[in-house]
């Protein structure tokens, strides 16, 4: 395969094929390494697998494609402002559904911008939640005894538990 390729094909952990442009793949070091492997190896038949499920990978690639022009060439302040608004819209997703998967994927793919964005989105979601709602979205079991629970309620009278 020659180095003039514009897009590469990758496999999700579910085995679905996805196309990602070369400039978008540059947002992630691991993706970039895969890209170099594909471009410079003689073994062109092999399609690299990314350990991210299809639902998440669609979103990650969407993010990469949107951010690639700015990341590769730099952009004006108005572009940055526009991108910020786009990020907010992009992150309007069901947390139970995909946000934590995005977080894991951003970490795995070394994508600092997306990782920060996902952490901030999770934090913003948590701000208005009660203790039991937080447990629910993070799949955490309450391991306090009823006595300890009572004590916590006494210590933090203004705190909303349920």
């Amino acid at each position: 395969m020659s180095s003039s390729v514009e897009a590469i094909t990758v496999l999700s952990s579910d085995g679905d094929e996805f196309k990602i442009t070369v400039s978008a793949a540059k947002l992630s070091k691991p993706l970039n390494w895969m890209l170099e492997d594909v471009c410079f190896s003689d073994d062109c038949d092999e399609v690299p697998t990314i350990e991210v499920n299809s639902k998440t990978l669609v979103k990650v690639i969407e993010y990469c494609e949107k951010h690639a022009p700015r990341a590769n060439s730099g952009a004006s302040d108005s572009d940055a402002e526009e991108l910020k608004k786009w990020d907010i819209e992009f992150m309007k997703m069901d947390v139970k559904d995909i946000l934590f998967h995005i977080l894991m994927a951003a970490n795995y793919l070394h994508m600092e911008g997306l990782y920060d964005l996902a952490c901030q989105t999770a934090a913003d979601l948590m701000k208005g939640m009660t203790v039991s709602q937080i447990r629910k979205i993070f799949h955490i079991k309450n391991d306090f005894s009823s006595e300890e629970q009572e004590q916590l309620r006494r210590q933090h009278p203004g705190c909303s538990f349920d």
Binding site: F100, C119, M126, V131, I134, F138, I140, F144, H156
Partner: protein, 391 residues
């Protein structure tokens, strides 16, 4: 593990948690034992503080409650969301509390009633009384409070000043370390003959006050800035900015540097506000200090700049009668329909980027003329780790 329920490792949980306000973190402590331990770790408290101090600061407000002699405390975030701070019964019972310094979310308050010093974290509602006795407060004194990352310690500085006819000026300095829990006498040779103003600012491990020659305070002429290095416990004197001819000045913090807000007379009843920012030199000994004039407001009628909040200067008008108070550019100030019996004077914001004035509408704070305003970053920092007495 189910595929739709990813397990987040601790570093991810911590990265999310550090972005939360203290109120949400207190709630998050109640989620499970593991989270409680994560949030209580000193490394997390430091990480959270570091993150918060790089965000837009909040404003800590205190205003007198009309219903009682008590004060109400509030926090205003950068989105103008106001939060009532639940103060403790001890704080409420003390009517003459004076804020004399704040560092890393901790407030240092001087109580005339208790003749003592209180340390308070309004976000965690933790409060402690510093061990100091009434007798030590004979004569005048001013207080400073701050943190030094070099020694990882908070210190309270008490400067005793004599105002009588003779031997005026600083005559004793004591420093209390929260870490060692000990009071210590400190050298103050270069402060002899100087008086020190009440207003104080803490930044970059140093506490600052205005210093003036004993007896000269009446004409408002501060002559220098007194600086106290918290780690080395050494005082130095910083000259005022060159071409300094301001009518009044206030110490504040701008972009993590010491700054000075000045009012300069232009002509007739026209004034302008200047902002000087300190470029710090090499250190405690032989440092070179230089002031840079960063901003210069448009001409305005007399305003007192109080403090900087983000990229805005909060100003208080001099005049009580609003009909006397107009700007050259005549911005339209909306007036609230409600008639108030109090001679309430609005505060103004001067934006450093747009060079524009606008009214600063803080709701539910009663009469703005007696409001206390302080730029503030809330934290989980605990006073009890430093073994100060519980009242």
């Amino acid at each position: 593990m189910e595929s739709d329920k990813p397990f987040l490792p601790d570093d991810m949980i911590l990265n999310i948690l550090k972005r939360l306000p203290v109120k949400s973190l207190i709630r998050s402590q109640c989620v499970c034992k593991h989270w409680k331990n994560l949030i209580k770790k000193p490394s997390f408290i430091a990480e959270h503080l570091h993150h918060s101090s790089h965000q837009s600061p909040s404003l800590l407000l205190r205003w007198p409650s009309f219903a009682s002699s008590e004060y109400r405390w509030g926090l205003l975030d950068c989105d103008m969301q106001q939060l009532i701070v639940q103060s403790s019964s001890l704080i409420d019972s003390l009517s003459h509390l004076r804020l004399c310094g704040s560092s890393n979310g901790l407030l240092c308050l001087k109580s005339e009633a208790l003749k003592s010093i209180l340390l308070w974290n309004p976000a965690t509602r933790e409060i402690r009384l510093a061990p100091i006795t009434i007798d030590e407060f004979k004569g005048g004194y001013c207080i400073g409070f701050g943190f030094s990352p070099i020694v990882n310690d908070y210190k309270i500085v008490v400067i005793y000043v004599r105002y009588g006819a003779e031997k005026r000026g600083v005559f004793r300095v004591k420093v209390f370390s929260l870490r060692t829990r000990l009071w210590k006498e400190v050298e103050f040779g270069n402060l002899k003959g100087l008086c020190v103003g009440d207003d104080t600012v803490t930044v970059n491990g140093r506490v600052f006050w205005f210093g003036y020659k004993a007896g000269s305070h009446e004409d408002g002429s501060y002559c220098q800035v007194v600086s106290f290095d918290i780690a080395n416990e050494v005082f130095s004197l910083v000259p005022m900015p060159a071409e300094h001819d301001s009518l009044m000045q206030n110490l504040t913090v701008h972009e993590n540097n010491l700054a000075m807000l000045c009012v300069q007379w232009i002509t007739a009843d026209i004034y302008c506000i200047k902002l000087w920012v300190m470029d710090e030199g090499s250190g405690t000994f032989g440092e070179r200090w230089s002031w840079t004039n960063t901003y210069y407001s448009g001409h305005c009628y007399m305003l007192f700049p109080l403090t900087i909040w983000g990229n805005e200067i909060i100003c208080e008008p001099e005049f009580y009668d609003e009909s006397d108070f107009q700007y050259e550019s005549q911005p339209e100030f909306e007036s609230e329909g409600e008639e108030d019996d109090d001679p309430s004077k609005p505060l103004y914001l001067y934006n450093l980027d747009s060079n524009e004035f606008k009214t600063f509408d803080i709701r539910n704070c009663g009469n703005c003329s007696s409001i206390m305003i302080h730029s503030y970053v809330e934290s989980l920092v605990s006073i009890s780790n430093f073994h100060v007495e519980n009242p």
